[in-house]
């Protein structure tokens, strides 16, 4: 019998295949609410990845924007929406072409850091996770950008 290290959830979201060590950063971008019951597993063994992290959130289905924010940190992650103990929806995360209001521009002289406005980035290289600010036109690696 398969023994689960983390309890199954009835309704909510499972984020699996997070590269080992990144679970805390992924969770930080999701800004858990007081009502969320969160389980985080780190350094589990994985056939594909060697080691992986996993997050389960009981009682909360992630929105598309939240899934996108995971993609910027852990593009390999897989997100499953659980309803009544069953996987209702399974998706690979993918960095969208246009990333709005998720990350701050790393250029201190960018207008987005000077005016009350939303940031916009365009994906220019999915493999290298490179994004260009729509405003100042600078190119950044996703790891260089602070999540809002």
């Amino acid at each position: 019998m398969k023994v689960l290290k983390v309890d199954p959830i009835k309704n909510g979201t499972v984020i699996d295949h997070i590269p080992a060590g990144l679970a805390q950063r992924v969770l930080a971008t999701l800004k858990p609410r007081v009502s969320d019951i969160v389980m985080m597993g780190m350094n589990f063994s994985s056939k594909v990845m060697g080691q992986k992290d996993i997050i389960k959130i009981e009682g909360r289905e992630l929105t598309q924007n939240e899934v996108n924010s995971i993609a910027l940190i852990a593009p390999e992650a897989k997100v499953s929406i659980i309803r009544d103990l069953k996987v209702a929806q399974k998706s690979k995360v993918e960095i969208p072409e246009l990333i709005e209001g998720l990350v701050a521009c790393g250029n201190a002289k960018c207008i987005t850091n000077g005016e009350p406005m939303q940031t916009k980035f365009r994906l220019i290289n999915a493999g290298k996770r490179e994004l260009a600010c729509q405003y100042c036109e600078r190119v950044f690696n996703a790891d260089e950008l602070k999540h809002l």
Partner: protein
């Protein structure tokens, strides 16, 4: 073309159309009438030349200008957002020409208003009207933009003007010499882009032997502040000063350009040679800006 924010937004046809219109307006400025059209100049930082060049362009086509020059005494000082200021300007005018110290400001304003927006410089990012007037100047002086040999000289690391110029010229099969002190070399990302685009270029630390080869010398100012110490600045600065002696052996068609203001990087004895072209370049700015204003206002024929 709805706005002019970045050279990246323009394709070769857009550029060719603007060049043709600038040429035609230089020959016959009376062909267009922008009377009853109002240009709002929103200048969050001082720039005498760019602003006056735009004002002159608009007024020579019989248009009107309202201007905000600097933020002192304006609602901006009271804390008004850029979005609000530009929305109000859009009620007062038919086109906005703006300069702002923050990068991307013109793009943001173009999203806030329904009238055309021209970027007249957004920090270290873009200054497309300068790039276009440079292209016009090169074309006018050489008859074509194709297959030219150009030396870009001076501060190639921080010089926004030269950065956009190399991209603007790239489709026209140029051969570049990038002449700069080691600490102010053309940034690696641009050098890599040019390699990927198959553009020919050579990196040099001085002008030795290349002057007779050139069609255009594009000189920029080396600012002392860019150097970590004064000694290093003193060591290199003379290698990048152009005098009439430097120009010996140059081809007859060779022209010296400079975005101005110059300090000492082109000595005044060059002014009276047939190679001096920087004042013409400044004048060309008026024709190119007329072409840009007319095109964006939908008045280009």
């Amino acid at each position: 073309m709805k706005n002019l924010i970045s050279m990246r937004d323009l394709n070769v046809e857009d550029i060719q159309q603007l060049l043709a219109l600038a040429e035609s307006l230089e020959k016959d400025p009376m062909q267009l009438d922008l009377s009853r059209r109002v240009m709002a100049a929103m200048f969050y930082e001082a720039s005498t030349r760019t602003r006056m060049s735009f004002e002159s362009a608009m007024k020579r086509l019989k248009g009107e200008v309202v201007a905000m020059i600097g933020t002192s005494g304006t609602s901006v000082e009271k804390g008004e957002t850029l979005a609000d200021t530009s929305k109000i300007m859009a009620r007062y005018s038919d086109i906005i020409v703006m300069r702002h110290p923050l990068e991307g400001a013109a793009r943001y304003v173009s999203e806030q208003v329904d009238i055309p927006v021209v970027n007249a410089g957004d920090g270290a990012n873009q200054h497309p009207t300068q790039s276009l007037l440079d292209l016009y100047t090169i074309k006018k002086s050489q008859g074509s933009l194709e297959n030219l040999k150009l030396a870009l000289i001076g501060d190639l690391k921080y010089g926004r003007t030269v950065h956009s110029l190399v991209y603007a010229l790239a489709p026209f099969k140029p051969e570049f010499y990038f002449v700069a002190p080691d600490s102010l070399r053309m940034p690696a990302y641009i050098v890599n882009d040019l390699k990927n685009m198959g553009v020919n270029f050579k990196l040099r630390e001085n002008l030795d032997d290349i002057v007779p080869d050139l069609d255009i010398m594009y000189v920029t100012r080396i600012q002392r502040e860019r150097f970590p110490d004064r000694e290093e600045y003193e060591k290199v600065k003379n290698a990048f000063i152009i005098s009439s002696q430097t120009l010996e052996g140059a081809k007859d068609n060779m022209k010296v350009m400079h975005p101005l203001p110059r300090v000492n990087e082109i000595t005044t004895d060059v002014d009276s040679t047939k190679y001096a072209y920087y004042f013409d370049q400044a004048e060309n700015g008026v024709y190119m800006r007329q072409a840009i204003l007319a095109t964006l206002l939908g008045e280009a024929k």
